[in-house]
């Protein structure tokens, strides 16, 4: 195998890495916003369970949580760990069609669920911090001008929250890029898994180190984009 075929092979794995990253980001942000509202609710019947849930999810390793999502439904269904309902699901993702194994698609769903819930919990705490840091005076200024609660949130508070949370969120987003490697715990052929497979089948170790280039380029690109966002919001102080 030459450099070029190995690069192609790794690119396929990287496609899955990117897919997991993007899908998690798209789904975890709104879910995190929902969690943050629930954790700030005045009703303790909503607030307390949400905070306990966030404590549990943030308290257990993501890898463990992936196993829980993957195995628990089948264990509960018929107590048989050998059979797994996720393995019967075909999402028809064509990103790695060359891959001989199609069974990873259902497992991808399991990993995605675990990632989305896990990251929604982390995001929700960032959102909560951001929302609570906006001074009460901003809300009151909106209310005395006859604005509704949702107008105050969307027209006044939200942009100030975004400005404040971008640095913390950037950190979490960059961590997410690298956490996608945990998907190989249940044999999702993301980039690290591809490289590891090569190490065992071709007796090549350097592709494993080569994966770092993909991560570095991706994180570099994200850093540029996130800095741009920060710069765009620097025209005001809040």
């Amino acid at each position: 195998m030459n450099f070029w075929t190995i690069t192609q092979e790794l690119l396929q794995g990287f496609g899955i890495t990117c897919l997991l990253f993007i899908m998690t980001l798209i789904l975890a942000i709104p879910l995190g916003l929902l969690f943050s509202f629930c954790s700030m609710s005045k009703l303790s019947i909503i607030k307390v369970p949400t905070r306990i849930f966030i404590w549990v999810i943030r308290g257990i390793p993501l890898m463990l949580f992936i196993f829980v999502i993957y195995y628990l439904p089948s264990l509960l269904a018929d107590g048989n760990a050998a059979f797994n309902i996720f393995n019967t699901i075909d999402l028809k993702i064509t990103i790695a069609s060359g891959s001989s194994e199609l069974l990873w698609q259902g497992r991808f769903l399991a990993v995605l669920i675990a990632f989305v819930i896990n990251y929604a919990c982390y995001f929700s705490e960032i959102f909560r911090g951001g929302i609570e840091s906006v001074s009460q005076g901003q809300y009151e200024a909106g209310y005395v001008l006859g604005m509704t609660k949702s107008q105050v949130f969307f027209k006044i508070v939200l942009k100030q929250v975004i400005k404040r949370i971008v640095p913390a969120l950037s950190n979490e987003i960059i961590t997410l890029v690298k956490d996608t490697a945990l998907a190989n715990a249940i044999a999702i052929p993301e980039i690290i898994k591809c490289a590891k497979d090569m190490a065992s089948s071709q007796a090549l170790i350097w592709p494993l180190f080569y994966t770092a280039v993909f991560y570095l380029l991706f994180v570099g690109l994200l850093t540029v984009v996130l800095n741009q966002v920060e710069k765009k919001l620097s025209y005001f102080k809040a």
């Binding site: 901003q138 200024a141 001008l145």
Partner: protein, 261 residues
């Protein structure tokens, strides 16, 4: 008939009684100053009148329309509270401008959101928005900041920010404008420019309620002065009555300390 009529407002936070039955009324075009030491309940009174706090009991009327009556407090909806607030404008001690909007946008934001509820908004949106903007520019000009329309709050001095806040409050045509210690966050030089703006409004017969520690200003601008102490109104009258012919011992002691300084 008075424009604002407040009857027996009380408010407690936990076991602390902050307002112990406040009653007063205000005629259209008059200026009322509320003075008193910190913690006497002045700010809480303003916040109750603007529904930022819900009074425990009492009645608030504007032009004979009951905005608040403790008898049917439980049925007061968010929408009614919002409508009630539109009778009033409030200028805060620390301005509370919206930092992400420039001066013009700060003044226009609320009127533009209000306009969306107009029946003819869909057809005449362009004209309506243009009118709002023109009016906003006029108000900004009146507070002397027409050169700063595109500046953001962080680029303005405290005095300029407070003048924008006044223009912003006026943009919704409130029947009564409330000021909560509008100059307390400003140095003496900047205080002057705010007081001039408020005096300007007084000459245009704007009905105003001003909580202030500027005694000389209160004396000059007010038609009526209230001295509050420990949740009560202990003295009330024209500036001449309150400042020159003080009856209450507590008021005398308070004013004496000011005259020393």
């Amino acid at each position: 008939m008075s424009l604002l009529d407040v009857r027996n407002i009380t408010k407690s936070f936990g076991k602390t009684e902050v307002l112990k039955g406040i009653s007063f009324s205000l005629e259209k075009g008059n200026v009322l100053s509320i003075i008193g030491s910190s913690g006497s309940g002045k700010t809480t009174l303003l916040r109750c009148l603007n529904f930022l706090e819900m009074p425990d009991s009492g009645i608030i009327r504007v032009c004979d329309k009951v905005l608040f009556d403790d008898a049917d407090k439980a049925t007061l909806t968010d929408e009614q509270i919002r409508q009630n607030r539109l009778h009033f404008g409030l200028v805060f001690q620390n301005f509370n401008l919206f930092p992400q909007y420039n001066v013009l946008e700060n003044v226009c934001l609320a009127p533009k959101l209000q306009a969306k509820a107009l029946p003819n908004y869909k057809t005449d949106a362009k004209q309506i928005l243009a009118d709002i903007e023109e009016k906003a520019r006029h108000l900004i000009d009146e507070v002397g900041l027409s050169a700063k329309c595109n500046a953001y709050p962080c680029e303005l001095s405290g005095g300029q920010q407070q003048r924008v806040a006044i223009a912003r409050a006026l943009a919704l045509n409130p029947e009564i404008l409330f000021f909560d210690e509008p100059t307390s966050a400003l140095d003496p030089e900047l205080t002057g420019e705010i007081l001039r703006v408020i005096k300007g409004l007084a000459t245009k017969n704007m009905t105003m309620v001003i909580v202030t520690h500027e005694m000389q200003f209160a004396r000059d601008v007010s038609d009526q002065v209230i001295f509050m102490d420990d949740g009560h109104i202990v003295e009330q009258g024209t500036p001449a009555q309150v400042f020159d012919n003080t009856q209450n011992e507590r008021t005398k002691a308070f004013l004496a300390r000011f005259n020393e300084g």
